[in-house]
Symmetry: C2
Subunit: 369 residues, 2 copies
C-alpha cells in the first residue's frame, strides 16, 4: 500500500513542523518551509501574509483575489501597445557576488520589457520552493525582489507559491511575468538592422557568467568579479531619447552577445563585423575564460545590452549612455556590413585576422540565470 505510506509520510512531514510552529497573533509561524506552505490552506495564507505581502506591499497588490486588475485607460497614458514577457530563474547558486535569484528575477523581466521600448509596469511572482528551505532565506530573497522592484519602478501585483518535496527541485525557482506599455514612437525590431548601422554595448561583457562560475566552483580565486545584474529601463530610455531611430535593443543574457548579434544578422539578413579590440571585457574575465577554455562573447550578462543604432546617431547614443551609471563603459564594437553574407557575424581579431562568430551551439554554463 505505497500510496498510503506515501500519504502518511507526507502527512507526518507536513505536520511535524506545523506542530512545532508557534501561533503569533493567530498566525502559524514556522522557521522552515514545509509542504503545508504550498497546500492552499491556512499555512500558505499565513506564509503569504508574513513573507510576501509584508515585502511587496503596494496598492495594486491584490491580496484577496487570484488576479490583479488595472484600468486600460491608466495604461494608455504611457503609450499605445502592451508588451508582455515571462522568464523563469533557476540560477545556481541562489546568492552570488552582485546579487541573488530575487534581484535577478526582477531585473531579467524588467529588461525584457524595456528592450522593446516598453515602460515596465507590473510583474507577477511565482515561486517553486523546495521543502526544507529556511523561511529566513526565503525572506531574504523576497526582500531583494522588493528592493529591486522599487528601484526599477515596477510593482509586483500577484503571485503563486508552490512547495515540492525535498529533492524535487533545487532550493528555489522563480518565475516573473511582466507587462509594460510601449510608447507610440518606438518601433524597435530585430529585423531592422541596415548597412552601416553601429553595434553598441553599454559596458564590460561577461561579468555575470564569470561571477556565477566563480561563486559556484571552489577555485578559491580572490578575483572580485561581480554580476552586472541591473535593471536597464532607465538607460534604455536615455538611449532612445538620444538616438530615436535606434533599430533594435536586446539584453545579452544566456548565449552572450555572440548569440544576440547572430540573431540580429539572421533576422535582418545582413552581415555584421565586430572588433575584438573595441569589445570591453575585463582582464579578470579574460583570465577566467582562458583558464576554463570559454569564449567571453558567449558568457551571460544580466545588465548589458546590445543596441543597433544608425551611424548618424551613434555619437549621441554613446554620449547619453556614458552619462548614465549603467553605461559608463559603453562602446561601439562593430557595424553592419554593406556587402556581408546574410546571417554571418565575423570578428576582426586583435591579431589582425578575421574569424566567424557563430551562435552558441551547446551550453557553456547551465543554470546561469
Amino acid at each position: 500500500m505505497n500510496v498510503l505510506d506515501k500519504n502518511l509520510q507526507v502527512a507526518s512531514d507536513a505536520e511535524a513542523p506545523i506542530a512545532s510552529t508557534r501561533l503569533r497573533q493567530g498566525k502559524l509561524v514556522s522557521s522552515v518551509i514545509t509542504l503545508a506552505h504550498g497546500g492552499g490552506g491556512k499555512a500558505m495564507r499565513d506564509l503569504i501574509d508574513d513573507v510576501f505581502i509584508n515585502a511587496f506591499s503596494n496598492s495594486s497588490l491584490n491580496t484577496l483575489e487570484d488576479q490583479a486588475r488595472f484600468q486600460l485607460s491608466d495604461l494608455a497614458q504611457y503609450g499605445d501597445r502592451l508588451a508582455m514577457t515571462t522568464d523563469s530563474y533557476v540560477i545556481d547558486p541562489i546568492f552570488f557576488p552582485g546579487g541573488d535569484i530575487g534581484k535577478l528575477a526582477i531585473c531579467g523581466t524588467v529588461n525584457d520589457l524595456a528592450v522593446g521600448g516598453a515602460k515596465p509596469l507590473y510583474l507577477t511572482c511565482a515561486m517553486i520552493i523546495e521543502e526544507g528551505m529556511q523561511v529566513s532565506t526565503l525572506k531574504q530573497i523576497v526582500q531583494s525582489m522588493a528592493d529591486t522592484a522599487k528601484a526599477a519602478g515596477v510593482l509586483i501585483v500577484t503571485g503563486d507559491t508552490k512547495v515540492v518535496e525535498r529533492g524535487s527541485c533545487d532550493k528555489i525557482f522563480i518565475n516573473t511575468a511582466g507587462i509594460g506599455v510601449i510608447k507610440k514612437d518606438y518601433q524597435l525590431g530585430v529585423h531592422k538592422a541596415q548597412a552601416h548601422d553601429r553595434i553598441l554595448v553599454n559596458g564590460y561583457l561577461g561579468d555575470h557568467g564569470a561571477a556565477i562560475l566563480n561563486a559556484r566552483g571552489d577555485m578559491h580565486l580572490s578575483s572580485p568579479i561581480e554580476s552586472d545584474c541591473a535593471p536597464l529601463h532607465e538607460l534604455i530610455e536615455v538611449l532612445l531619447n538620444a538616438a530615436p531611430n535606434t533599430r533594435f535593443i536586446r539584453d545579452a543574457t544566456r548565449g552572450g552577445i555572440a548569440s544576440v548579434i547572430n540573431e540580429i544578422a539572421d533576422a535582418s539578413k545582413c552581415g555584421i563585423e565586430i572588433q575584438e579590440t573595441a569589445t570591453p571585457i575585463r582582464n579578470e574575465v579574460k583570465g577566467f575564460c582562458e583558464i576554463l577554455g570559454l569564449d567571453p562573447l558567449y558568457l551571460a550578462n544580466e545588465g548589458k545590452l546590445v543596441a543597433v543604432v544608425p551611424a548618424a546617431e551613434t555619437a549621441a547614443a554613446l554620449a547619453a549612455m556614458r552619462a548614465h551609471p549603467l553605461g559608463r563603459d559603453a562602446a561601439d564594437i562593430g557595424y553592419v556590413l554593406e556587402d556581408g553574407r546574410a546571417g554571418r557575424v565575423q570578428m576582426q581579431t586583435s591579431f589582425g585576422g578575421k574569424r566567424i562568430v557563430d551562435m552558441l551551439v551547446g551550453e557553456q554554463l547551465p543554470r546561469i540565470c
Copy 2:
C-alpha cells in the same frame, strides 16, 4: 579543482547528445532534452522552433522578440480593465486520467482569469525541464497545451525554456501567466457576499484530487475517477449572463471548496452554512476519502467553481449552468447566514448535526497542481 571537473562534466553531458543528434534541414534534432537546450544558443532555438512554434503557431506569437505586443485599443473592445494572473504547475504525475500537466497549465490560468469576469486572451508559457526528458514526452505536453488553448480561445504568445541538471527538478514544471479583459459591468469580489446569498457549485467535487491520488499510488483500484480539469470561461460567461448580480466566483483548486468558502466568509465578514446532503460528491471519491482518512471538502478540483449568487438569481444561475456541459450537475449547497459569526463556515451534516468547516491547515496532497 572542482569547478573544472564540474564544467568538463557538464560539457561532456551536453555535448554527447548533441554529437549524436541528426541535422535535419540545418536544425539540430535530438530525442532527449540536454542542458544545451536551455543554453540560449542554437540548440535552444531549434528546440523552440521544432516543439513550441510548431504547436503554438498563431499570429500573436512573437518568435523573434522576447516579448509579445498588443494594441491597447484592441484590448479595450472587450472591457475596461486588464486582469493579470500567474500559476506554476508542479503536478505529479505529469500524465493522469483526464489530463496532463500541459492541459492543467492552460486550464488553471484561464480559470483564474475567468473567475474575475475576465475574457481570457493571452498566455505566456515558461518551462523548467529536467535534463534527460524525452523530446517526444515534451511534445506530447506541448501539444496538449496547444489543444487546450485552442479550445479555451486563448493564444500562447511568448515563453521561456530552462533546462536543469538531472535531479534538480522533477521532470517538468510549467508556469503560465495570463492576461484578460474584464467587462465594464462585472464587479466581482470575495468581500461582496451578503446574508441570504446562495453558494453554488457546478458539479461533483474532489474528482481531481482523487484522480491524482489514484494515479500516483499503486492501490490497483479499478475506479475510473478522472480529473475534472477543464477551462471554465464559457460556463462563467453563461452564469454571469443568467445571474448578473453574482457577487463572487472562484475555482476551488488547492484547499478545495472548504478553503474557498472560508475565504469568502472571512473577506465578507459573514457566516456560511453548507448542507452535506446537497454537496455533490461521487461515491467513488467518498470511498477514497474514507479509506485514506481525507475530507473531500479539501480535495483539489481543476474544473469546479464556487459562486456566490443573490437568492433571487439562483434559479436562473442553476438553470444556465445545468444547460452547459461543464455545469450539468450544478448544485445549490448552502447560503450566507443572517446571524452567522463572521468568518465561520459550518456544515449541516447528513446525520442532522452541525460541524465547523475550517480552512485547510496542513497539506492533504502535495503537488496536486
